[in-house]
Amino acid sequence: MNIDVLTTDSRFKAINDSAPDAVISGIFACDMLSHVMGHAAEGNVLVTVLSNINVLGVASLLDLPAIVYPHKIVPNETVIAKANELGIALFSTSLTTAETVILLHELGV
């Protein structure tokens, strides 16, 4: 599925535009990086409240094309610049983690 499903849904606010053709499949929601590292699969959209730079490192190592931050969290400029460099799409939403996961599921991710 194309990242469009997120980009075109008003409940997700695109923070950058660095991976317009990204292909996403599946959802992984977690705030502990070792759990993400051990269990997330390539293509997964990562839902996390962690807005620091390590999350991008993990996403890049696992080939996770997109990160959604719930609770209106927006990472700082350094993190956004790093995401642009790595080609990772970032989104923010006012939903909670659980609501975000449910919505992504309803959208077929």
Binding site: S34, M37, N52, G57, L61
Partner: protein
């Protein structure tokens, strides 16, 4: 193919650059035509070990060796060491600092992850430092078909 040998320094608390060893190793494995699944296992192991040196030690080094039939990475840091290795290997055990926890670490899953993905793991520690060697065997089915 020629063996790939690299030595990397890992700085204490340098969270912004943590993951560099894993990232460079991943790239080298890709260039050798290894499968995504094989690369993922190595990447997980190297990342977790690298992060542990960053967040739990005074800094150290990683030596990466890739040959035709194995990948071996050895980490050596300058202390303070692991008091009880058996306990450290237990899933969920962590002494991570609040700084590490704020950055998403401290689930106590790093060493168990390394154990799960690697073919060999050798962990030794004293107050002078921790030594960790992890090895992955390259087999025929480790390559992309």
């Amino acid at each position: 193919m020629d063996p790939y040998i690299r030595e990397h320094n890992i700085e204490r608390n340098d969270i912004a650059n943590a993951g560099t060893v894993a990232s460079l190793t991943k790239r080298a494995l890709k260039q050798r035509g290894l499968s995504r699944e094989f690369i993922k296992q190595v990447t997980i192991g190297v990342y977790e070990a690298e992060i542990n040196v960053v967040i739990h030690s005074y800094g150290g080094t990683a030596n990466v060796a890739i040959d035709d039939d194995f990948v071996e990475i050895t980490f050596q840091d300058k202390g303070p060491g692991i008091e009880n290795i058996e306990q450290a290997l237990q899933a969920g055990y962590s002494t991570a600092s609040s700084y590490a926890i704020e950055n998403g670490f401290g689930a106590g899953m790093g060493l168990p992850n390394i154990q799960a993905v690697s073919d060999e793991m050798d962990l030794q520690s004293s107050e002078n430092g921790t030594y960790l060697r992890i090895k992955f065997n390259i087999k025929e089915d480790s390559y992309e078909h």
